[in-house]
């Protein structure tokens, strides 16, 4: 099962503990988390279900390449980090 970790900054607004979930892609993994925690979805994805402009997702240290469909593969041992980009701050 993949481990999904959310940025601490997000925890200020919505509960999002580290979780271990099944799923073969970023989309599949995040869908499991969001189904259990619906409010979290809108903080990470926009209205069209794509990654928010200034959000980043890393799989085992590599940024995902498909920000629209979130189709990057996730392995059972992967660590998925949902982070803020440095852009978009102030």
């Amino acid at each position: 099962m993949a481990t999904v970790v959310f940025t601490q900054n997000l925890r200020r607004h919505v509960e999002c503990p580290t979780e271990t979930v099944d799923g073969a892609t970023v989309r599949a993994v995040l869908d499991v988390v969001f189904t259990a925690n619906p409010r979290l979805r809108g903080y990470v994805l926009d209205d069209q279900g794509t990654l928010r402009h200034h959000m980043m997702v890393f799989i085992d240290g590599e940024p995902v390449s498909d920000r629209r469909n979130l189709s990057d593969p996730v392995r059972a041992t992967s660590e998925v980090y949902v982070m803020q980009a440095l852009s978009g701050g102030c």
Partner: protein, 373 residues
């Protein structure tokens, strides 16, 4: 005297009435969402609920409601757009790609035709309606799919936005909205159908073919007189316009004749009892957007725009570079005025603008002020 809700780049601040003889009549009392980008607050006069729109940047736009004047807040639903047609790249009038996603909550208003119903205007140009105090929202498709929307473009931001929502005092199903940039529109059937009502306005930033197009009008703020609801005032990107015939036509005020330092600015407030009295906060147009000669003033007309008085008592007269955004000037039901600026200054007046007192001069940049009864 009501409280004053001040929406800023770093939170929502409440100034409460103060009986100190020497002060502004207000005292900063409490901050909410301190550190977060608070783009707009709205008070629903029907049930006293406070609504706060947040723009978290990375995490998107959120909406919260308080039913106890800010003691506790609950996150409610935020308006979201339906699924965009697959494989279709949409662009606005200026050719910029338009994604169907809420970028900013730019206006909130009670929908007075039904208890608990609300209107919400957003960037990139969608109007939403809630029937249940913000628990759920529906896109007003009649406007979003209106063919003229393709003629709308960005004002200060990349995409068009609805910043003014006026429920008509004659009939709550009649609602006027203003769009930057997309003119003025009105429904008389609670949002089922819409008509552009910007005829007579003039845009000086477009080619000649579009100067009088109702969709080209960059309306910065639209207000309506409650006692004489056939009178509307508009602060426009290139001037001040007024309608006295229920928006059948608009007339531009001639700057040279009025004596006002500038006809550029963002906010306008109209006296609810007197359609001829209105207040503006002028700035040098339009690339600089600072007060003329570094002197912060409010202008007031009491004769329907024929002449303007420049009101400066109590306001900084030099080295002031405050800009007041479109929601940054408010008039309370009992006649008090207040405005907040990009410099974080907030001023209030209890004598219709003749004199002003400082509420605070060290707040974050102010987006909006509104009174809470």
């Amino acid at each position: 005297m009501p409280s004053l809700l001040i929406s800023t780049r770093k939170g929502l601040f409440v100034a409460s009435p103060s009986d100190s003889a020497s002060g502004s009549g207000f005292k900063l009392e409490r901050g909410h969402f301190v550190g977060d980008n608070l783009s707009l607050a709205m008070v629903d006069p029907r049930d006293g609920a406070w609504y706060a729109a947040l723009d978290h940047g990375h995490f998107g736009v959120k909406l919260h409601r308080s039913d106890d004047r800010g003691t506790t807040w609950t996150e409610i639903a935020v308006p979201t757009y339906p699924k965009q047609p697959e494989g279709e790249v949409q662009k606005n009038f200026f050719g910029l790609e338009l994604k169907w996603t809420t970028q900013l909550i730019w206006s909130l208003a009670p929908a007075l035709d039904k208890a608990g119903a609300l209107w919400c205007g957003t960037i990139p140009g969608g109007l939403f309606r809630s029937e249940d105090r913000g628990a759920t929202w529906q896109l007003v498709e009649s406007l979003w799919f209106h063919p003229d929307r393709t003629k709308w473009g960005g004002g200060g931001r990349d995409h068009a936005g609805i910043h003014s929502i006026l429920v008509d005092p004659r009939d709550p199903k009649t609602v006027a909205i203003a769009i930057s940039t997309g003119g003025v529109w009105r429904t008389k059937d609670a949002g089922a159908t819409w008509t552009n009502t910007a005829g007579g306005m003039r845009a000086e930033y477009v080619p000649p073919e579009l100067v009088n197009d109702g969709n080209s009008q960059d309306v910065h703020c639209l207000v309506q007189c409650a006692a004489t609801p056939t009178t509307f005032w508009v602060q426009h990107h290139n001037g001040i316009f007024k309608s006295t015939d229920d928006m059948a036509s608009w007339t531009e005020l001639e700057k040279e004749q009025t004596g006002a330092p500038s006809h550029f600015g963002f906010p306008v407030a109209v006296d609810p009892k007197d359609p001829d009295t209105a207040w503006f906060v002028p700035a040098i147009k339009d690339e600089k957007r600072i007060p003329a000669e570094g002197r912060l003033v409010v202008t007031r007309t009491r004769d329907g725009g024929k002449t303007f008085e420049t009101l400066s008592k109590g306001l900084p007269s030099s080295f002031a570079y405050d800009l007041v955004y479109r929601h940054g000037l408010a008039l309370s039901p009992d006649g008090a005025l207040a405005f907040g600026s990009t410099t974080g200054n907030v001023f209030a007046s209890t004598d219709r603008g003749d004199s002003w007192s400082l509420v605070s001069n060290y707040l974050p940049p102010v987006y909006a002020v509104t009174f809470a009864p």
